[in-house]
């Protein structure tokens, strides 16, 4: 069920002072797939997201989305093109209600506030937040804040959704719930890239996985190939476990 290439990243690089956060990274995402992106802490996953979505200008390399070069566009234009991301640390509009939070996203495609509100209600139902619509976003639990991040992003009607550690800190039941939600988004035709530490989730969700270590891609393939790849095992567990 792999479609055409939707996102193509080519030779992306970013340096912060003495740290090469991302070096010469290339990968692509096909329409309708879930691409998992894993790697130890500091391997450049979030930096890659930030470069794709325009929060950091890359030092080198290109980002192409649906055939269009979007390298270096500001975040709001990237979102306008149809890429929306969530943040590793949820950034809700704390003092606003949940529905107002999501409306901020839906207003992008529906400038009329009444229409935007109706659309926001639909999105809230889809992520299971409908009963919390009138609550203040700052008072939500961790899982509900993650749901809200996803809901706001979905509100912008993206073609590609970038999820940055949506499952971090969730208990196993909540992880299962989040996985169901992400899988259902893919089934509705959305393309998703997930950065995740919860290995079980990435392995069972993803169609393909890209593994980063110290800013470079060390492996790419389907979940089975990745879990038996010696370079991946070395990056995660250290060289001495490789032969164990």
């Amino acid at each position: 069920m792999k479609g055409d290439i939707l996102l193509e990243v080519e030779g992306l690089a970013k340096r912060f002072g003495g740290v090469q956060a991302v070096a010469d990274l290339s990968f692509h995402v096909r329409e309708g797939e879930i691409l998992g992106m894993i790697g130890p802490n500091g391997s450049g996953k979030t930096t890659t997201f930030n470069m794709i979505t325009g929060f950091y200008p890359p030092d080198r390399g290109r980002v192409r989305f649906a055939g269009r070069d979007i390298t270096g566009l500001p975040p709001y234009e990237v979102c306008g093109c149809g890429i929306c991301r969530t943040f590793q640390v949820a950034k809700p509009f704390r003092e606003l209600t949940v529905i107002r939070n999501v409306m901020t996203g839906t207003l992008l495609r529906h400038p009329d506030p009444a229409l935007a509100e109706t659309r926001a209600e639909e999105v809230l139902r889809a992520v299971g937040l409908a009963e919390r619509a009138q609550m203040q976003a700052g008072s939500l639990t961790t899982i509900d804040q993650r749901r809200l991040e996803v809901a706001r992003a979905l509100g912008t009607a993206p073609r590609l959704l970038l999820l940055d550690e949506t499952m971090a800190g969730l208990n196993p039941t909540e992880v299962a719930e989040a996985m169901r939600l992400i899988a259902s988004l893919r089934d509705q035709g959305l393309t998703v890239v997930v950065v995740e530490h919860v290995m079980r989730a990435v392995m069972s969700l993803s169609d393909r996985i890209v593994v980063l270590d110290q800013g470079t891609k060390i492996a790419e393939g389907n979940p089975r190939e990745i879990s038996s790849d010696p370079r991946v095992i070395q990056a995660y567990l250290g060289a001495e476990y490789q032969r164990a």
Binding site: T53, F55, P74, P75, Y76, E77, C79, G80, C84, R85, F87, K91, P92, F93, R94, E95, L96, R100, N101, M103, T104, G105, L107, L108, P111, P113, A116, R152, A153, G155, T156
Partner: protein
């Protein structure tokens, strides 16, 4: 459903009716003058609130837009005899155009740059007006020649017509604020104020949203400047471009409650009441006293009412609505 007889309807209607008959209840023109100035500051505080409150961008130079409106209009009135009813819009437009480069440049950055730039803008304009004496008559200021009762020239023998014009402008600003608050721009500004990164990730061009709010704010402030020039007949660089005025405009919104429709209305009434009272009680014996009043009010608000007096008044008002007899079912 709310019935037409519920206090939710007749209370605001009653307040509006009171405001309409108010000038005839006041014992002398001086009191009318005070309420005219209150209305002017409702307009100014309300305009400031669009960018300073909803947009969260502290302007300490709104006098730049006020003075631009006042000077552009008065120069046009005096040079070409154009009616102030027309120059009112031109003054507002000039202030709007002035705001564009400020917004476009400053809102690319986050931080105190906008506040500093606005102070600089107002001071620069004040000095330019002082310098180009041939056109602006410098420190002497400009006067609007008195023509007596000439409605077409926005001049009236009595203060009462000015009061009604100011009242219409004040109500207009409240309506503009409500409209913006409910439109996409209002939603965007509030979201940007809460978390700019998250807002940008959702497709919001935060610089453009702020620049739009500033343009609207500058336009309204410029129109108010034209009205002020017509009302007082004389404008000086210090009175219309001064830092004191800029601060007073900001304080009106801050004391009342930023980011709310009615906050600047309350702020204007309270500030003007305190300032005029101290002037009446001490009758100019202690120069600079009104500055101490500004300072005292600001400290009091920041210490005890950081969201302004509006939440307190809102509760009062809601309580009143709930307690008043209703012909239909009043909503809580």
């Amino acid at each position: 459903m709310k019935a037409a007889g519920s206090p939710e309807y007749y209370l605001p209607a009653g307040i509006l009716l009171f405001l309409i008959v108010l000038p005839f209840l006041l014992p002398n023109p001086f009191y009318v003058h005070i309420v005219v100035m209150m209305a002017v500051f409702v307009v100014l505080g309300g305009a400031w609130n669009l960018i300073g409150g909803y947009g969260g961008q502290l302007s300490l130079g709104h006098a730049a837009f006020f003075g631009t409106g006042a000077y552009v209009s008065t120069l046009l009135v005096n040079a070409y005899g154009i009616s102030p009813w027309i120059t009112m819009w031109l003054g507002g437009l000039a202030a709007l155009l002035l705001s564009l480069p400020v917004g476009i440049i400053c809102f690319r950055l986050q931080g105190p740059y906008f506040a500093i730039a606005t102070i600089g803008l107002a001071e620069t304009l004040r000095l330019l007006v002082l310098h180009f004496r041939d056109i602006t008559s410098g420190a002497q200021g400009l006067t609007v020649p008195f023509r007596g009762d000439a409605p077409w020239l926005l001049q009236f023998g009595s203060k009462i017509p000015y009061y009604y014009i100011a009242l219409i402008m004040a109500v207009g600003v409240v309506l503009i604020t409500r409209r913006m608050e409910r439109a996409r721009l209002g939603h965007y500004l509030v979201a940007i104020g809460q978390n700019q990164d998250a807002a940008e990730a959702l497709g919001i061009n935060s610089a453009r949203a702020k620049a739009r709010a500033l343009a609207l704010s500058a336009f309204v402030t410029g129109v108010a400047g034209v009205f002020y020039a017509q009302y007082t007949y004389v404008i000086h660089p210090d009175s219309v471009f001064g830092l004191g005025l800029s601060i007073q405009i900001a304080l009106v919104a801050i004391v009342g409650g930023v980011g709310t429709t009615m906050g600047p209305v309350l702020g204007a009434v309270i500030m003007e009441f305190f300032i005029q009272s101290t002037q009446i009680i001490f009758a100019g014996q202690y120069p600079g006293l009104e500055l101490m009043v500004y300072g005292g009010l600001l400290v009091a608000v920041i210490l005890w009412r950081p969201r302004g007096v509006i939440p307190w008044f809102a509760r009062l008002y809601q309580g009143l609505v709930a307690r008043l007899p209703a012909a239909g079912g009043a909503r809580a």
